[in-house]
Amino acid sequence: MTFPSATLLAQSALSGVFIGSLYGLLGLGLGLTWGLLHIINLAHFAFAFLAAYLCYQLASVGGMDPLLTLAIIVPLFAALGVAVQWLLARFSVSPLNSLLATFGLAAIIEAGIQGVWTADFRKLESVYAGQKFRVGELFVPVPELLTLLLALALSFGIWAAMRYTNIGRALRALAEDAPVAAAFGVNARAHALVLAGVCGALAGIAGVCLALGFTLTPSQIYAWVGVVFAAVMLGGLGSALGPLAAGILIGVSEAVTMAFASPSWAPIVSFTLLIALLLLRPERS
């Protein structure tokens, strides 16, 4: 093993921060529905990929600016999130069954993507794609920087909303003790739908970030599951800032691993971390 140079390590760590911010952005919506609604939404990843493909389609075929596609994608995926939550709530599924049902939904979406865009690799060539600037010795790519900024803004925005708005307070109360919150007049179903809409929109935004920075193929949907779940569990279920912080931590440790070993070993970092987290979490008796 050759020891990488300091610049290479710093560049690796920086790219770890960038990819970690995407982990955090994906984990934000996932963790909110898991922690606050007790729905483990595997379809969140499929939504993000669907949004990525939509963004790809609108930008490369329709000629739209990738960031402008957000105007279409955000409301569309908010509506999708609401629809899924409405369905799950109607059948009052358990967390395990929500995992099963959204697993099925993810498979449907994956098949749909494959049917429309085939299993070939797709890469969005946009005005942002090649843009980068130099800070000292380091290169900063613009699409990744956009992801980081979006993730930061959304995480802090939701953190503030959970803390300072009535809807946020109501949601936290519902997560803590739904019957008591309901007794105080909080409409559980309506609030759940609002949150699911926000999380759907988050999946859409994460999808646009995916499209900006990554090559797309349908089977990649599941490649993100382990690492994002690790970020959510490390950051804390239902936390707004936790997934981003944890995601960046994981991203950096992955990137540094890749600087030392072959990139094909990278999945082992996040999945091992997820296993370790599950096993070593303090037990609540």
Partner: protein, 577 residues
């Protein structure tokens, strides 16, 4: 033996010289029957849904691929190795994971999914695969039938028959009943004597081993193995779907689901329909989870049970029933050696001292009442003695042995049974099976048929004889509490811990229960009675222990203890002299 008969009948098919397509198609049906049924042995029966079945199946595939493809081991010899490798992996993983109480349900599912990808990364980056995949085109297909496709057919048929027989015998054995109890309430199962850790390990090992053998056969069937095609989510998704669709609580459910889904997926083999097949699979999974979470066989079972339930409920009071002719242990109260002896027992919950050095004895044949205000440590005491919680410090001597570090199921087997303040019946077992389970796994340690007979007697004893065939959810509170009691009694404990069995009952029901408790003691069972209903405690108890803030405040006869000022202060706050 219907499975065996069907197997023999199907074994003649290769002799009919049908086109290879039919044999290959039926091979796939049997292949998926093995995978789904083996998955169900752990995940369906015990509720530990694994998303990692692909990992164990893949272990089998790669074991055979490497041994036969790279080391020229005869194909048939690789199959047992494939099964053993997968079983060893499963048991090793289980030995770690099953020790962690919090990894249940959805977290277990996630963890096993993660294991799949870790394994895939290792296989891909080491000489096991190394990237390009493993070819088995040079491996000879043994001539078990006139054609190679016939050979695969026969192999898969034999394995499917064996798997179904194993799944059925487990479902009907102690192991199966224990796993069903784990599914409903693992902690309660452990406290009633089910060795939950060992049972889960055995089930996981069997489940993974069978999947490994299926993988071994499939390696040669597909003849070219890549990490990407093996360690993906298709296998877990499909087996979960098949089992959920067919019904996870019946041994034949996954086989039914597997047959249906395989027909659907492989009826047409055109490539563009593979994508549609995936979408249909996903849609059926969503629909099955939402509309019939119990599966096809689950629905049928429920309907049959519902038809058997009589519309009217006859109320039989406990004290009318005759005591069952059970060989009561000849226990004479002995003053010298206490049956249970607690010394310096401590238990804290994140800083709160629930038990702060408790010492007292329980003598053979007595009823000891335990009183104390809310939060004084009464329930914690029962939880620690029954092994539900482990004590931080101190000793619990029961019939001569220190059981403070024992697992709950060993304590149950040694002769301690308990009831829960909030009843915890196994929701998917009938009332009678609930009691049968206690008789099988508790100190009584009866075999299934004798336990079932004993269960009938205990249901009669507690006045629930007419409710034996219903699910616990259909009982009212009074009946549910008596079911708790019947379960504890069926274990035939030497020491019975009753945690507020009377709370929430009407005065008339309480009178019946008091009579019942007295008759239990008359049969020679020692009782520790935790209770809020003061009248009952003073009426029933030979001695009373008063707990306050995790310590013994007073003990002695009812009259003495209740006259003490400090006891009154603990209860009422001030003394109004």
């Amino acid at each position: 033996m219907a499975i065996g008969g069907a197997g023999v009948a199907l074994a003649v098919i290769p002799l009919l010289h049908l086109p290879a397509f039919y044999e290959s198609f039926l091979y796939l049906v049997f292949h998926w029957i093995v995978l789904a049924t083996s998955w169900n042995i752990l995940s369906g029966y015990s509720g530990y849904f694994s998303f990692g079945h692909g990992a164990f199946y893949g272990t089998g595939i790669y074991t055979t691929a490497v041994l036969a493809g790279k080391f020229d081991m005869p194909f048939l010899w690789t199959l047992p190795v494939a099964g053993i490798m997968a079983a060893v992996l499963g048991v090793t993983l289980g030995a770690i994971v099953f020790r962690v109480r919090s990894v249940r349900g959805e977290l277990f599912a996630l963890l096993t999914l993660a294991v799949t990808f870790v394994l895939a990364t290792i296989v891909l980056n080491t000489p096991i695969d190394g990237g390009p995949g493993v070819y088995l085109s040079g491996v000879a297909v043994p001539a078990l039938a006139p054609t190679p496709s016939g050979t695969f057919y026969v192999l898969a048929l034999v394995l499917a028959v064996a798997t179904l027989m194993i799944a059925r015998s487990i479902a009907q054995a102690r192991l199966g009943l224990g796993l069903f109890a784990i599914h409903d309430d693992e902690d309660a199962a452990e406290v009633m004597g089910v060795p939950t850790y060992r049972y889960k390990l055995v089930a996981f090992g069997v489940s993974c081993g069978l999947a490994g053998i299926a993988g071994g056969i499939h390696a040669l069937f597909i003849a070219y193995v890549t990490a990407g095609s093996v360690f993906n989510i298709t296998v877990p998704l499909t087996v979960v779907l098949m089992s959920v669709l067919g019904g996870t609580r019946h041994w034949a459910g996954p086989a039914l689901g597997a047959t249906a889904i395989t027909l659907l997926l492989y009826a047409s083999t055109a490539a563009e329909q593979a994508v549609a097949g995936k979408a249909v699979t996903g849609a059926i999974l969503v629909a099955a989870v939402l509309f019939m979470p119990d599966g096809i066989l689950g629905l049928r079972w429920k309907r049959r049970k519902a038809a058997a339930v009589p519309a009217t409920t006859v109320h039989v009071d406990a004290h009318i029933a005759t005591p069952p002719p059970v060989s009561a242990r000849t226990t004479s109260p002995r003053a010298d050696a206490p049956l249970l002896s607690l010394h310096g027992l401590r238990k804290s919950f994140s800083g709160v001292r629930a038990l702060d050095g408790v010492d007292f004895d329980v003598h053979d044949g007595e009823i000891l009442g335990v009183l104390g205000p809310n939060g004084s440590g009464k329930s914690t005491l029962i939880n620690v003695v029954s092994g539900h919680y482990r004590a931080d410090a101190g000793s619990i001597r029961f019939a001569g042995a220190d059981i403070a570090r024992w697992r709950a199921h060993a304590i149950a087997r040694a002769g301690i049974a308990r009831t829960y303040q909030i009843p915890r019946p196994f929701a998917h077992l009938t009332v009678r099976d609930n009691v049968t389970l206690a008789a099988m796994f508790g100190a009584a340690a009866l075999d299934r048929s004798r336990a079932d007979a004993a269960a009938a007697r205990w249901l009669h004893f507690t006045g629930l004889a007419h409710r034996g065939h219903v699910l616990p959810g259909e009982l009212n509170l009074h009946q549910t509490k008596f079911l708790e009691l019947a379960r504890a009694l069926a274990a035939q404990p030497r020491l019975l811990l009753l945690d507020e069995v009377l709370s929430g009952l009407t005065p008339a029901e309480i009178d019946g229960a008091v009579e019942l408790i007295r008759r239990i003691r008359d049969r020679g069972t020692t009782i520790v009675l935790v209770e809020h209903v003061m009248r009952v405690v003073t009426e029933l108890s030979d001695r009373i222990v008063v707990l306050d803030q995790g310590r013994v405040l007073a003990q002695g006869s009812a009259a003495d203890v209740m006259a003490r000022d400090d006891v009154a202060i603990a209860y009422l706050g001030v003394v109004h002299a």
